[in-house]
Symmetry: C3
Subunit: 147 residues, 3 copies
């Protein structure tokens, strides 16, 4: 039994952006030499999510529109009221209340079983790192645990 961690730095280009990291996750599992166990894919950001779905370009557009409906970028959020806020106010603070609420529903991580050396993605499953706020440097982790 062992645990191996991998980290990917990436620069997002737009928001929302669905970055397919299936290939990278598969590579990390191969490199870990874990044959039976699982992989946790984890976002280190509160305005980025990790989700598994189908990588079909028109569907990704549907998802972008869906997220905007759930919590519109130009909606009214107290988190965006920089005159009222006193906590976590940074020079690079952006009005990103919508992104926090979308992330709350999507989630921070996914866990995928590894069996006989194969990451158990189904035929249409891709794993995405999802930028919800605005383009910037980001970080996503994979932890592979098993034998």
């Amino acid at each position: 039994m062992k645990a191996r961690a991998f980290c990917l730095q990436l620069n997002t280009q737009k928001a929302p952006e669905f970055i397919d990291i299936t290939g990278w996750v598969t590579q990390c599992v191969a490199e870990s030499q874990v044959r039976n166990g699982f992989a946790v894919v984890y976002s280190k950001h509160t305005t980025c999510a990790v989700r598994i779905n189908e990588n079909e370009p028109l569907l990704l557009q549907d998802m972008a529109k869906f997220l905007e409906t759930i919590s519109p970028r130009n909606g009214k959020y107290q988190h965006n009221d920089f005159r009222a806020r006193t906590v976590n106010m940074n020079p690079d603070e952006s009005p990103n209340g919508h992104a926090h609420l979308q992330q709350l529903l999507l989630g921070t991580s996914e866990t995928i079983p590894v069996s006989d050396g194969v990451v158990q993605f189904g035929r249409y499953q891709s794993i995405f790192f999802i930028e919800l706020d605005h383009p910037r440097p980001r970080e996503v982790m994979v932890q592979v645990v098993g034998e």
Copy 2:
């Protein structure tokens, strides 16, 4: 420490359908002989979800109605425009944009701790495999890891 994988084939009967697989998950953990660790329950499909909630028949009807409100079956999705789509177009393709969007919010897996040989479900917790698209053969996995 060991990792054991189990796979369940099932034929869904309607959509949405909430299939309670708590008994099967509990059986898998017993069979694995893992006393301390956890179980990952994983859907291999992008239009099926795995979630833990209460198995109360009227609540399941509330959930079905809730999902339909979030993303209606007859809504307008680009993913359903088979004249425009070029990716993943299969003979059995169904207009299932709504199911992908519902699945995006519900999620692909759940992880449940196992302690002293007992799967740590709370009193009202049941785990469901949820069909969101249409009835068909499906597959759900449990990976049990621990000692």
Copy 3:
């Protein structure tokens, strides 16, 4: 490789209530002496969720309002019709259909990698136990697995 379980009893004070348990999770991981592996934080209740997001007071108010919009406390749910229900009817039953539906979207657990003895929370990430129903005694678990 080992697996260690920890349990926290808490009395919630309102609903929704976002209880920051980041410090407790970090303590559990330290106590487990796991250096590489991960921690599963798990709610034993179908009307409480576990989520990672930013602990900024105005954002927590945005989240409370957002959850109320998604599934209002005073909405119409069959689960709240105590004359029609026959399953899981208890003396302390509360009209909590809204809380079940909110929990369905938020989720029951989060998994966080541990690497070189450090729980891999990002700079703005806090982990919350979220009461969605009404104030009462509750229980949340952490399972730490690794080497």
